[in-house]
Amino acid sequence: MQFWVAQTLNSLAFGGLLFLLSSGFSLIFGLMRLANLTHGALFMLGAYIGAYLMRAFPGTSLWMAALASGIAVAVFGGLLERFVLRRLAGNALGQVLLTLGIAFIISDGCLLVFGGDPIPLSTPHWLARPVFLWGFIFPAYRLAVVVLAVFAALGLHILLDRTRLGAMIRAGVDDMAMARAVGIPVSAIFTLVFCLGSAIAGAGGVLAGPILSAYPGLDGDMLPLALIVVILGGVGSITGAFVGSFIIGAIYTFGIALLPDLAYVILFLPMILVIAIRPNGLFGRMAV
């Protein structure tokens, strides 16, 4: 029984991390029709920046590191969008190849700067001890990650559904030409959304640190999962990313635990099923 409870919590925590990664990817794709293949690398970059900050400035808490790293990655993403990707506006394939190239550069750059050994990020000490509830042991940090992901989802939901800015973003997703025509500054919103998505990925990388560590290949491990989540949940939908993340988180975690050989195949079954039955994804309004 302890096994099932622990694995359930693990899968929820992993799903939460996946949401932090894939929500930004989904937003950027939905608004800009841009498959940002640097997203996994930004997640990893965030984790490394966090690890560096916590090592260079002892006493930096994980939360401070996540905040700083999120801002740093957001700035990086904003510059990337404004000065590089913008030059290829309208050329979807060119943009994908460019983000792929930059992903390789970031990933190899991290290996060059931080070395090949995994760097674990330390858990905040008040969350480091397990919690006992109803006779079961819960690692407190994983509970905190789930709570944070839920808050992030709520925040994004409120931003998109309840604010003026959110209405402008949604207008851009639904009909960009019309949004421009009624005076919405779509260009500035592109950059803003790119920064926002990058920030969530960067901060998510730091929050993943105590569970996954920062290691070379983290980007390559996470990016396909984000793709599967977005294909499953539907492009541009925060609800879709949320539901998809927890489905994939659960399948991945239980798959690794129960059928380690075939975890990757199992991971992939819901994606095939969704593509076959609902090509737009569970909550998507447009085709991928």
């Binding site: 994908v96 190239g101 190899d108 593509i275």
Partner: protein, 310 residues
């Protein structure tokens, strides 16, 4: 047209003479170039002629290589049977992956092919009982077709050259055929093609399968050249290198993948002498090509020549 035939004749002769005059290092380098050419040319069917950008083409190369190595080393099957099994299995895999990925087009297609290829990569790493995981499969010996030993670099080079020649010829014939023209029609005007009564999905699906088959051929060459297979062959970097070969050379041209793949392999070999950071260089070349030469080298040179002739 006459000069073009002359160029082809000269390059053919020099390619055949090469193993008799060059050292083993250059022969092996040339073999690697040829394998990359087959791989990029197969991907070009999809990217260039069908207009479907796949980022998961390494799956077919790696799958064929793994089946070949696995059935030969573990089951002890003769090389011919292993090769047939590998190609049949890869073609089947391409049929399945194609049926899934072609539910989407454009960026969705790209994302699905990438995700599918990562699944094969994950399997190769994790299913240790079958693939020996991170240790890879060793102990493969090169076959002796018709009693000819391919153990020397020169012999293997010539066999690879022959295979590459067949692959490029078949692909050239395919592209020029009625089917090839309808494939390019589905790339440029899918709706009109559908209105004209062509089954766009079927045309694309067969292109996907054909591309997968030739990537499998490249995989066989690869595994017999290396006599070793590791899961990293299935990584996104392999797919990206193949795609870079297509884009750098010029997608949708016959010569493009040849030039592009040669460039990538030679760059990779020479770069790795001086620096360890191949992936960073690969990324930088991607950025450079996309920003500076989005059409690729072959169309760029062709444009220059056309300007000179005028």
């Amino acid at each position: 047209m006459k000069t073009r035939g002359l160029y082809i004749a000269i390059s053919l002769v020099s390619l055949i003479v090469l193993p008799f005059v060059a050292g083993d290092f250059y022969i092996n380098l040339a073999t690697q170039v040829l394998i990359a050419v087959v791989f990029s040319a197969s991907l070009n069917i999809l990217v260039g002629y069908a207009g479907l950008s796949s980022l998961g083409h390494a799956a077919f190369l790696g799958f064929a290589a793994y089946i070949c190595a696995g059935t030969t080393v573990t089951l002890g099957l003769p090389p011919l049977v292993a090769a047939v099994l590998a190609l049949a299995g890869t073609t089947l895999l391409a049929a399945i992956f194609g049926a899934i990925a072609l539910r989407a087009s454009g960026l969705g297609f790209l994302m699905i092919t990438l995700a599918l290829a990562q699944v094969v990569w994950g399997l190769a790493y994790r299913w240790v009982g079958l693939t020996n995981g991170d240790n890879g499969l060793t102990g493969l010996t090169r076959p002796h077709p018709f009693g000819v030993s391919l153990d020397s670099p020169a012999a293997f080079y010539l066999a690879t050259l022959l295979t590459t020649g067949i692959a490029l010829t078949v692909i050239a014939i395919l592209v020029g055929s009625a089917y090839g023209v309808s494939l390019q029609g589905t790339r440029d005007q899918p709706r009109r093609m559908a209105a004209l009564g062509h089954n766009v999905w079927l045309v694309r699906w067969t292109a996907f399968i054909i591309a997968g088959f030739w990537a499998g051929v490249a995989g066989l060459l690869y595994v017999y050249y290396q006599r070793y297979i590791h899961p990293s062959v299935l990584s996104m970097a392999t797919s990206a290198e193949g795609l870079l070969g297509v884009i750098a050379g010029g997608s949708g041209t016959l010569a493009g993948p040849v030039v592009g793949a040669a460039l990538v392999v030679i760059l990779k070999n020479y770069a790795s002498i001086y620096i360890e950071r191949w992936n960073m260089l690969l990324g930088a070349v991607f950025v450079l090509i996309v920003l500076v030469m989005p059409d690729g080298i072959v169309p760029g040179v062709r444009r220059l020549l056309a300007r000179r002739d005028r």
